[in-house]
């Protein structure tokens, strides 16, 4: 790593020239540890400003006075050496690590490189090797448990399913809360586009899935607005800065790296089911029932007749649910060729991923090729560019309540032979126990959504040093993709009985141009004061289009073309274009190596706001102080200490077209009955429009997030133990939101600037070397995060509002004044003042529930991750445990399995009567403990169904998230072979979990990345992945 740092810094170090030349000294600087050349080391003649830096081979040449003189060799992270020249013409130096310095160069906003100690805000880095070869195709999933202040939740174990990420809580009521992703300087789209209602569609990918975890060199997380403000309006959610593998770090050598892995995955964390009772109700067999409240097995009933009239044995089919899921397989291969030095380099990278999912006939694949390079021309102009093409395919099945494979899989009676009998007849229709629903295997075969994304992204930079202290550069980036989708529901599909073909073409493009002028000066007015100023300008354009056509009433079975339809509805075209011009500055002061101050400001002018309000300014200030350096503290206990503080404000513009009020093609109804204009009435096509449900606003102003953070970092025992503690607080105001208004106004929402939401949190990071005995080493690295979000204010008279998106009536993911964002408002058990559930004395069941009550809060109380790394010579074992403590999951699947008598718990003492927990109102202000006995079926049903508090489970989970065992072959073994490095490894994910309050794995989030969290609405289950990998370097 240090080697990389050295090179990165080499280009930054600026030294004044001009001194009376008397003689020349040359030499080579090498590492005290391994003797390798150290490039980029500062070499200064003491007492002067005359100096140079070492080249890639560690060589330097400097002019010195005729007699004597002392050379000072310095580099961040290494102990500074002062060496008298005497009369020597050659001075070679070995430099050793400075363990007390604990300092690294890190990449911050807009690619700026900063000494870690100068940062007044929190920034966390993850190395590529900690993300690669982790039995996982999605980059965000590989970050789980490794970052503080960051909450990551996968939608499911479905192939290619999206992953939600929020940094330091959510800041916006209704807009995107995912962080900005920057890949090699390219603003990289990470949207998750649902072409279908997210309650019933597939689980599409978030577009960061277009990048393979294997291609990452490093990843930096800029958590707060102070760190991210230079990126402009989208920085309020934090920024993930990704650097992919590149050439130019190999000192002219060409290096070829091949990685390969194969992994398997299984559905994991399914609830335990009972095998004592079969299909039916009230102990009677019923061949159409979705329930398992039928007679016990092994009794009088030994044979039953199916709906199709077949006589079959009446017995448990223990694996009828778990056996539906198959063993998934992930094969990843990659070749990376890197060559050149820092002035001239190239890189070619090809990678491919193929995944067969755990649900039959689902898959995910990603193939990418990237080529990049850079050169420094003779006139000093530096040119860098890279271009990547990636094709990502995802094949998924429709999910969600009713009418889908996963909507049915929780409704398979225990005696139903799901896998052993045919699921379709000769005409391709489903054979199932229900006439209105389809066999899950039929659904996986005939209800598919296939997507193909073709994406190109790249950048080009030109840089020139006008003066040694003045640099100008221009960077142009582009990221564009087309996502083509086809939803195909065959004739007989429960949701589209006449069949349906839906074609979607989604185009997305973002262009950015950044002009940056940087001036910097050491010993600015005062000895030891360095200053740098950056002035930048950003021009941004984002455009998108979504065109679709929809055909129903298909005629030719199996012909999946839109021309197969007889009725065409829902043809649509939605375009958007937005532009923004920003101007930004960053002013940086450093005094010696212990006091730093950074000021930033940005003005944006956006196309999406009304002209009168479309220009807005936001500043930030941050500072850091390193007492150990300031006071020259030399101690074996306290090796390093730093305190930091920052304050920032970030402005954000609106989405396009929110200023106007429009008319839209009319439509009425929902999934029970609906029409969409144009209607075809008596052979005449009747077009119709209606006012859109939203009122636009010509008075919109930008929304702002204001945040501050403080923190400290100490290194103890020669930095064997490092602890970093931070606290942050942010407040988001004037949010641009489509506020729910009285429908009697004729509209459903009105766009307005409203409300306030705050996030406050603690972040702790610890790393330590626990043990070092000979070649054996045990290191730990841990993090702990606690975030408290509060909706402080929405708008006068509005207590709560539903989060924009798809939700079931009566189960509303909401933001409610005084509560954290994302609580689920639904029907709660009706309770007395003492909090006891009220039971109806006439029935022994609960009295009707209380609607409009907060019944679930998906926000975690705290989350933590702990990585243990054990290494011995070439062998290393890394074990990541994480904890997500608190927070609720609203699960359709579990409550369904419980109320329909499938879950194991429902078979316990089924023949015994039960009493619901609760009290009976005596009508005189007193309550009697419920004593009314009811049968097991009534009991489990009375707890509540899909739309009730019974569906809420505490999602606390302790998990063995990741395990990686790696062995690097000793160099001695490789001498004489073409290999420079060979390593093999085993890895596994989600190998074990413990969720004390949930019947299965609570890490489910059916609607995927987005603002609605904490709901399992009949989506795919989670998976356990494991496999092996190999990595070869030539």
């Amino acid at each position: 790593m240090r080697r990389v740092l050295l090179l990165l810094t080499a280009s930054l170090v600026l030294v004044s020239s001009a001194f009376a030349q008397e003689r020349t000294v040359t030499g080579k600087v090498t590492s005290a540890e391994d003797g390798s050349a150290l490039p980029g080391v500062n070499v200064v003649l003491k007492g002067t400003t005359s100096g140079t830096v070492t080249d890639v081979d560690g060589n330097y040449r400097i002019s010195v006075p005729a007699d004597g003189g002392t050379l000072v060799f310095s580099f961040i992270g290494l102990t500074t050496s002062e060496i008298g020249i005497g009369s020597r013409a050659t001075v070679d130096v070995q430099m050793a690590s400075d363990i007390t310095q604990l300092s690294e160069i890190v990449v911050t906003a807009q690619g700026l490189e900063r000494d870690e100690r100068s940062l007044g805000y929190s920034l966390q880095s993850v190395k590529g090797k900690d993300l690669a070869q982790r039995s996982e195709t999605g980059l965000l999933n590989t970050l789980q448990g490794k970052l503080s202040g960051v909450n990551i939740t996968g939608a499911s174990g479905g192939a290619g399913a999206s992953t939600n990420i929020n940094i330091r809580g959510v800041t916006s009521f209704g807009n995107n809360n995912q962080p900005l992703i920057v890949v090699d300087g390219i603003i990289f789209d990470n949207s998750t586009t649902n072409t279908n209602n997210s309650l019933f569609g597939t689980q599409p990918s978030n577009r960061l899935n277009d990048i393979s975890p294997e291609n990452i060199e490093s990843l930096n997380v800029l958590k707060g607005p102070a760190a991210a403000a230079l990126y402009g309006s989208r920085a309020a959610n934090g920024v993930i800065v990704i650097t992919t593998k590149k050439g130019g770090t190999t000192s002219g050598k060409t290096e070829v790296t091949i990685t390969s892995s194969v992994n398997w995955q299984n559905a994991f964390g399914l609830p335990e089911l009972q095998n004592q009772y079969g299909q039916g109700l009230n102990n009677d067999f019923n061949n159409q029932s979705t329930n398992s409240w039928g007679p016990a097995f092994g009794g009088a009933l030994t044979e039953v007749t199916t709906l199709q009239g077949d006589v079959v044995p009446y017995r448990a089919f223990e694996d009828n649910v778990s056996g539906f899921f198959q063993t998934g397989r992930i094969i990843q291969n990659g070749v990376n060729i890197a060559s050149g030095d820092k002035d001239k380099n190239m890189n070619l990278s090809i990678s491919s991923t193929f995944q067969d999912g755990i649900i039959p006939l689902t898959d995910f694949s990603r193939n990418s090729v990237q080529f990049g390079g850079g050169t420094k021309l003779k006139n000093g102009l530096k040119f860098n560019s890279s271009l990547t093409y990636v094709q990502t395919k995802q094949g998924g099945v429709t999910q969600g309540n009713g009418g889908s494979a996963l909507g049915q899989i929780t409704r398979i009676p225990r005696s139903y032979d799901l896998l052993g009998r045919p699921f379709e007849n000769a005409t391709g229709r489903s054979i199932y126990y229900s006439t209105t629903q389809n066999h899950p295997l039929w659904s996986t075969k005939y209800e598919q959504l296939n997507t193909q994304v073709d994406r190109v992204f790249g950048f080009m930079t030109l840089a020139y040093d006008i003066k040694p202290w003045l640099n100008v550069s221009y960077r142009a980036t582009a990221d564009t993709y087309i996502d083509r989708r086809q939803l195909s529901l065959a004739i007989g599909s429960a949701r589209a009985p006449t069949g349906q073909i839906q074609e979607n073409l989604i185009y997305n493009s973002e262009l950015n141009g950044d002009l940056m002028i940087t001036a910097s000066k050491d010993n600015f007015f005062v000895e030891g004061l360095s200053a740098s100023v950056l002035v930048g300008q950003n021009v941004n354009q984002r455009s998108s289009q979504n065109v679709g056509a929809d055909a129903t009433t298909l005629t030719i079975p199996g012909f999946q073309n839109i021309s197969n339809g007889s009725v065409f509805t829902g043809t649509f075209d939605s375009k958007s274009k937005r532009r923004l011009v920003g101007l930004y500055t960053d002013i940086n002061f450093g005094y010696k190596d212990y006091l730093y101050l950074e000021l930033q400001g940005r003005v944006d002018k956006s196309s999406t706001l009304p002209e009168a309000n479309n220009t807005f300014f936001y500043p930030s200030v941050s500072a850091s102080f390193v007492p150990t350096a300031a006071f020259d503290i030399e101690s074996n206990i306290l090796s390093y200490a730093k305190v930091r503080a920052s304050w920032a404000k970030v402005g954000n513009d609106a989405n396009p077209y929110l200023t106007g009020t429009f008319f839209v093609p009319a439509g009425f109804g929902n999934n029970v009955a609906s029409v969409t204009f144009p209607l075809s009435v008596g052979g005449v096509s009747v077009p119709g429009f209606q006012p859109s449900s939203r009122i636009g606003s010509r008075l919109l102003t930008p929304e702002f997030t204001t945040a501050w953070e403080i923190g400290g970092n100490v290194g103890l025992f020669q930095n064997k133990l490092s602890v970093d503690v931070g606290y942050f607080s942010s407040s988001s105001t004037d949010q641009i939101l489509n506020v729910a208004i009285s429908n009697a106004s004729g509209f459903d929402t009105q766009t307005a600037n409203v409300g306030e939401m705050t996030n406050k949190g603690w972040e702790v990071e610890v790393s330590a070397n626990i043990l070092k005995i000979g070649d054996f080493q045990w290191d730990i690295s841990g993090n702990w995060t606690r975030i408290r979000n509060e909706v402080v204010e929405i708008i006068d008279g509005v207590e709560s509002s539903t989060i924009p998106g798809n939700s079931f009536i009566g189960i509303s993911p909401s933001f409610k004044k005084g509560s954290p964002y994302g609580v689920i408002i639904g029907t709660a058990y009706t309770k007395n003042a003492a909090g006891q559930r009220l039971v109806n004395p006439a029935t022994g069941a609960y009295v009707p529930g209380t609607p409009n009550t907060v019944i679930a809060d998906p926000n975690r109380t705290w989350i933590a991750g702990l990585t243990n790394t054990f290494s011995y010579k070439g062998l290393s074992l890394s074990v990541l445990l994480d904890v997500k403590y608190g927070g609720d999951l609203y699960s359709f699947g579990w409550v369904d399995l419980r109320s329909n008598g499938s879950m194991a718990i429902t078979a316990a003492d089924r023949d015994q009567p039960r009493i619901l927990d609760g009290v009976i109102d005596n009508g005189d202000g007193t309550f009697t403990d419920n004593y009314i006995q009811i049968p097991a079926q009534t009991y489990w049903g009375a707890l509540g169904g899909l739309a009730s508090e019974a569906a809420v489970f505490d999602a606390t989970t302790y998990r063995l998230r990741e395990l990686a065992l790696n062995y690097s072959l000793p160099k001695s073994l490789l001498s004489g072979t073409p290999f420079g490095d060979v390593s093999v490894g085993l890895s596994g994910r989600n190998l074990w979990f413990f969720a004390p309050y949930a019947p299965g794995d609570p890490e489910l989030n059916t609607q995927g990345a987005g603002n609605i969290q904490g709901m399992d609405l009949n989506g795919a289950p989670n998976t356990r992945n494991y496999g092996f990998n190999v990595r070869l370097t030539f």
Partner: protein
Amino acid sequence: MKRFQKLYKTLILLPFAFVLGCDDFLDVNQSPNSPEKVPVSLLLPSGLVGSAFANANELNRFASTTMDYLYGAAGGPAAWDIYNTDGANFGNQWRFEIYGGALTIYESIINSEEAADASSYVGIAKIMKAYTYSIATDTWGDVPYSEALKGAANTQPRLDSQEDIYKGNAALGIQSLFDLVREGIVALNTTSTINPTAFSDVVYAGDVARWGRAGYTLMLKLALQISDREPALATSVINEVIAANDYIVTNAQNLSVNFGGSVGSQSPIYTYNNISLFQNDIMASTGYVNLLNSLNDPRLPIFITAPTGSYVTYENGFTGTLAPVANRSKWSAAITGANGVGPVKLITNAQRAFMLAEAALILPGVTLPAGQTAQTLFEEGIRASMALAGVTAGNINAYVAANPAVVTLAGTVEQQRAQIITQKYIAGTGNGLEAWNDYRRTGYPAFAEHLNAVGIDGKRPRRAQYINEEVQRNPNFTPVVLPNVNVWWDVN
């Protein structure tokens, strides 16, 4: 180097210049997706279909279950079958069919730039606005009216009392529904250069004269609805309607909304009953079949299917195991419309005849046209309904001849009223809201309460509870009014 110095000075200044002078570059916020204006001809069909949804979608299933047309076998209808309804019900109806649907569309027509040249559209819009508001107030009681549909100008409109909505209240600036219809009729009679056509008028295909008849018949319906509460006002309005002599008098003049026979164009009754995932949640009720059997009514086999050859129905509130779905009796194509073409019948000729008959019976001041009596109108209503159902003229005559007790009003005023409302109930099969309105107003047909009834008090709901969303969004909607509280015109 000098050259470069100049260059970098320019470069530093350039971005400032660009930021300040980029207005054209940033002028891209006009939506390419949606128009800010549309002609009235594109609004009318949406409004009419919206009103049809308000009448015939969820509210109809609720009212048809409550009123024993249907038995709720599962889901929402099963809850309504035991009178369970609360603020979680009918959100879509209030939000997207009534206020945010038909009403806001009619309002857009009335306020459009074209309005001055399109008075026929304005007339239709006002009549249908009054009709749609009557659904809202008859269902929920006091509702936003005079302050409603004003968009950003009033995002929390107050409630107007049902009394003020029907009668008007000048002091509060509330126009009566009658005056709204009268304005509509005046507008229909005003010269209009932009007129509806078959492409925009899915009721009368552009026949503006028929809209006038619909307007007067609507006034009759509104007046009769408040007749027990405000007999004098009802009498005067009904006499005004009779005097104008311009109301629906043939089945062809029915105010009924036409749908299409293909997916996405079909009537909601058909889609729910025949296509949707929830089609087996409803089936015919035993009470209904027994009633028609007791009257030897020839419409029974026309309205209700019998897949097994006999009627497989359940008594409302029944909770036992049900017959296989394929065997159950359901609404037939005569109610749902073949392939979903409907029509959704909002006001019919038969209904008009029964309304006039009842008015003559209970309102002494009502003067019927020469030659008409409550009895002639009662028989006219039965004949009109049977004819619409497809009973041949010969069979109608035969039925009338064979069942004099059914087609002849006899007994006390209340007994005769029961006869009229019962026949109106049969004629109105498929329009549950009107039956529920009549039941609450008159107590007929005198069905028993459902088995296992729960609700608030074990009796049929007297109104719908305000939807949760509206209560959440508009502070004028507190406190909660439960479904067992009578609306203003419900004096029984």
